[in-house]
């Protein structure tokens, strides 16, 4: 952009980073960024202009009907449905773009997959604001599609095989969220198989052909055994994988053809014509063959991500883009010099935009829980290579710089810090944080490598190749290490643990006995008995959430297979088993622990005010909680003000945190995933603290029904950490970040004024050194002033681009609810 350096400087001085970015980025990036349709829901509703795409569900339904009389097994029918969509969906190429591919038939379309769950389909039917006009015609199409899939969707297929008591408790929405589906959640990928440049789709097809031929020959010898019998299933799986890979190649070539048609028939600008020919050549090359250039590598990755999302609803985007695209960046920019840094930055920025616009229709509870974003696209940067050496490269820097230029809220980055990270890279991370993106979050790599080995037994060489499977949880992108699906319903609304101690497990919000029938709380005579009741409720809730996930994972290979994800996974190509088959996975499960710290502050308050000081009886407290503290404001304030709070380096309450984590982590070793591995807990929230505000009753930490919960992980309650940033870190460091859980989210707010200039960087670096030395595994920062945030509340139109860190993700401030906005403003601004 033609902007004077002075103008940019002025804007940066005023910390109006979003306007400065607009002036600094290239014309292409500026166009593409403004061309992007933001997909994140606002208050659970999709923004104006977005529409539910009816093209795909109609195609899926047509193909399913056509295949009804076919003798094909389900996995092949499913692969053919996927191929039918890829062969026939409307595709488009946006002006000035160099990377192509989108799930929907137009840029403002949200795709809807009717094959997943009838309950999701009914939500579409009742979401008229997002339906294309004329409404009557859309409703007719939806009615036909929904009627067809009733009783045939994945959820319909698995429910008869589940414990319905467990499922009902999960679906009540009180203790967790999500449904246990093999095609809905967070999908890891075997990047070591598919993204190292060694092979691409044609190579895998060749391998599949060889395996099919061998198995076919073997199954027709004079022999009969279980193994021979199983070959039939394997051949079917391999055939299905092949169908999806071939469809992927054809789909890419449709883009190549469109790019050539535009270049030859419509485009008058010679430079753009050349670009379009390059787009065509790229799509003719990948994903059929391994990429050779940065553009091909990015396009290849994008195709894989899109194909996988054509197969399943993926609520996360596990990735390590600097590690896998870095060699191509290095070759093009520094060795062959076929790309200037600026040209490379254009490609990288566009890659972020292409990811940011991906959207799949999700139920309202998911939209409320992920305010302002489509899913948690937390991309992993930095870290180490298999041999332990620094993995940062030119692409790491390019991604961090591109993020500041395009300023998308999703994807965000999480940076794997380790002692060998260069000052240059740390400065780039700091710039992103200082400029208010809220990312990268900082992860302590040595701690998390050790953690991956401790909890799931990943060998060190694989543990070093970890990526974020969702917001926080590490999972190696390796043959046996990656987890193909993490179902979101192993997400615990932990505030219910302490609530149920007071109600003997009865949930007064949803009117259901969900927790354990522990003794009436007023009969508990000691704190130890009270804590035992807490442990019982914790175990009950975790078990109810984990059992359906285990069951669904066992059912998945047969009932809800994933032929495409299998096709890009070495273990499935090798074995002929679906990627969801637990026996070929090492296991990397975790329980997300929402609203965790409320338990700690509540236990501390009860211990001090009821058992020790005896200011109140348990019966009094129980009654106050059941009445939502009504008429007991003075008592409530006593519980807020005069009980110790987590995050102030106070051993009284910090030791309770350790007791709770010890109990949870011991139980994590008892409950097992279908691969036989552990279920560690991982305290963090997305927007769960707001989503659950009206679901969690009054608590002994002084919270009332309806109040926002804490912002999550091991972050202290907003405004309750009164002793400064070092005290917060010291409290957090009392936790063993290797053995007490899988990871621990820590939100901190810093003052943008204090972080300005070189002095700001040095202050932050010193803070980060303390954080690293204390062995804390995670920290993320909000660095936007109260003044800016309040101005944005008053005048949202002017502050459309202000980004904040919500929890494990970032969002545009104006896209999140007022309650979440207020919750972020209430967080303590720490002076360093």
């Amino acid at each position: 952009m033609a902007a004077t350096a002075e103008t940019v400087k002025e804007l940066e001085k005023k910390q109006e980073w979003w306007w400065a970015a607009e002036k600094k980025r290239s014309r292409r990036l500026d166009y593409l960024r403004k061309a992007m349709w933001k997909k994140g829901a606002i208050g659970g509703l999709y923004p104006a202009g977005l529409q539910i795409d009816l093209e795909r569900p109609v195609m899926q339904t047509e193909k399913a009907k056509e295949l009804e009389s076919s003798a094909d097994p389900y996995v092949i029918k499913f692969a053919k449905m996927l191929a039918h969509v890829l062969d026939n969906k409307t595709i488009f190429i946006t002006d000035r773009s160099q990377l192509v591919g989108y799930l929907g038939s137009a840029p403002n379309m949200i795709t809807w997959d009717p094959t997943l769950a009838a309950i999701l389909n009914h939500e579409v039917f009742n979401d008229p604001d997002s339906l294309p006009q004329p409404l009557d015609e859309s409703l007719k199409v939806i009615r036909d599609v929904t009627n067809y899939w009733g009783g045939k969707s994945d959820l319909d297929k698995i429910l008869p095989h589940m414990d319905l008591g467990d499922v009902m408790k999960v679906l009540s929405g009180a203790i967790g969220w999500g449904v246990p589906l093999g095609r809905g959640g967070y999908s890891g990928k075997d990047y070591e198989y598919i993204m190292t440049g060694v092979r691409a789709f044609e190579d895998i097809i060749e391998e599949l052909d060889r395996r099919i031929d061998e198995a076919d020959a073997r199954s027709h010898r004079f022999d009969a055994s279980r193994e021979i019998s199983d070959l039939i299933d394997k051949i079917n799986n391999w055939e299905a994988m092949k169908i999806t890979l071939e469809a992927g190649i054809r789909h890419a070539r449709r883009y190549a053809r469109l790019a050539r048609i535009i270049a030859e028939n419509f485009e008058s600008d010679a430079v753009r014509r050349e670009e379009l020919v390059r787009v065509a050549e790229t799509c003719e090359r990948v994903p059929a063959k391994p990429p050779r250039t940065l553009q091909e590598s990015l396009q290849y990755d994008l195709f894989i991500q899109l194909f996988s999302r054509n197969e399943a609803i993926e609520g996360a985007w596990p990735a390590r883009p600097d590690f896998y695209h870095g060699p191509y960046y290095e070759r093009d920019v520094n060795i062959r010099k076929t790309l200037t840094r600026e040209e490379a930055l254009d490609l990288v920025g566009e890659f972020l935009i292409r990811a940011a616009e991906v959207s799949q229709y999700k139920p309202k509870w998911a939209r409320e829980g992920l305010q302002g974003i489509e899913g948690t696209w937390v991309w992993t940067l930095g870290g180490v290579k298999k041999d332990g050496s620094d993995a940062c490269n030119g692409m790491t820097i390019a991604l961090l710089q591109a993020a500041r230029l395009v300023r998308v809220a999703n994807p965000t980055f999480a940076f794997r810090w380790h002692p060998k990270v260069s000052d240059e890279v740390m400065r780039e991370c700091f710039e992103c944080i200082r400029q208010g993106l809220g990312y990268p979050s900082m992860r302590n790599d040595p701690v998390l490598v050790a953690n991956a080995m401790h909890w799931h037994g990943h060998p060190i060489e694989e543990a070093r190749l970890w990526v974020h499977q969702a917001c926080m949880s590490p999972s190696p992108a390796t043959k046996h290490g990656f987890q193909p699906m993490r179902m979101a319903n192993a997400t615990a609304n932990c505030a219910k643990i302490i609530e149920y101690v007071f109600t003997s497990g009865y949930d007064h919000v949803v009117n259901l006995q969900i927790g354990a029938e522990t003794p009436p709380v007023e009969t508990l005579e000691t704190y130890e008995q009270f804590f035992d009741a807490w442990v019982t409720q914790m175990k009950t809730i975790f078990t109810i959430l984990v059992r359906p996930v285990n069951r669904a994972r066992i059912l998945a290979p047969k009932l809800t297979p994933r032929p495409f994800l299998s096709a890009v996974s070495e273990r499935s190509v090798e074995s002929g088993l679906d990627v969801l088959e637990p026996s070929i996975s090492r296991g990397n499960a975790w329980i997300t622990a929402f609203t965790w710290v409320e338990n700690i502050d509540s236990l501390a308050a009860v211990k001090k005010l009821v058992f020790e000081e005896k200011k109140y009886t348990m019966a009094e407290l129980k009654e106050a909680l059941l009445n939502n503290w009504e008429g007991r404001e003075e008592m409530r304030l006593d519980f807020v003000r005069n009980a110790p709070k987590w995050g102030n380096d106070d051993d009284y309450v910090d030791s309770i945190m350790l007791d709770c984590l010890k109990a949870a982590s011991e139980f994590s070793h008892e409950i097992k995933c279908p691969s036989g591995n552990n279920w560690p807990i991982l305290p963090e929230n997305v927007s769960g603290n707001i989503h659950y505000a009206n679901i969690v009753g009054a608590l002994p930490n002084g919270r009332r029904l309806g109040d926002a919960l804490y912002d999550g992980g091991i972050s202290p309650g907003p405004g309750l950490d009164k002793k400064g940033p070092t005290a917060v870190l010291k409290s957090c460091s009392k936790i063993d970040h290797v053995t007490n859980g899988r990871a621990f989210l820590l939100n901190q707010r810093l003052s943008p004024t204090q972080l300005s200039g070189e002095k700001g960087y040095q202050l932050w670096k010193t803070y980060m050194k303390t954080w690293a030395d204390l062995g804390i595994d995670h920290v993320q920062f909000n660095c936007v002033s109260d003044e800016t945030l309040r101005s944005a509340q008053r005048d949202p139109e002017k502050y459309q681009e202000v980004i904040v860190r919500v929890a494990g993700y970032s969002a545009h401030f104006v896209d999140i609810s007022r309650k979440t906005q207020d919750n972020i403003i209430q967080r303590t601004v720490q002076g360093l």
Partner: protein
């Protein structure tokens, strides 16, 4: 009866001229793009609002 094959926006496949793509320019409130949708050459285009005689 007008068919897609008679339309300016129809681009047949080289290997099978009975099939092809309907390629159109679209300008939405945020961006401009070209879109392609597979069609058959003999598809009835009588009611197609974007039909343009070749």
């Amino acid at each position: 009866m007008a068919t897609c094959s008679e339309c300016k926006k129809f681009f047949p496949l080289e290997e099978d001229r009975k099939r092809g793509d309907c390629v159109q320019r679209v300008i939405d409130p945020r961006q401009a793009y070209y879109q392609a949708k597979p069609v058959t050459a003999d598809k009835d285009a009588a009611k197609c609002p974007s039909f343009e005689k070749r």
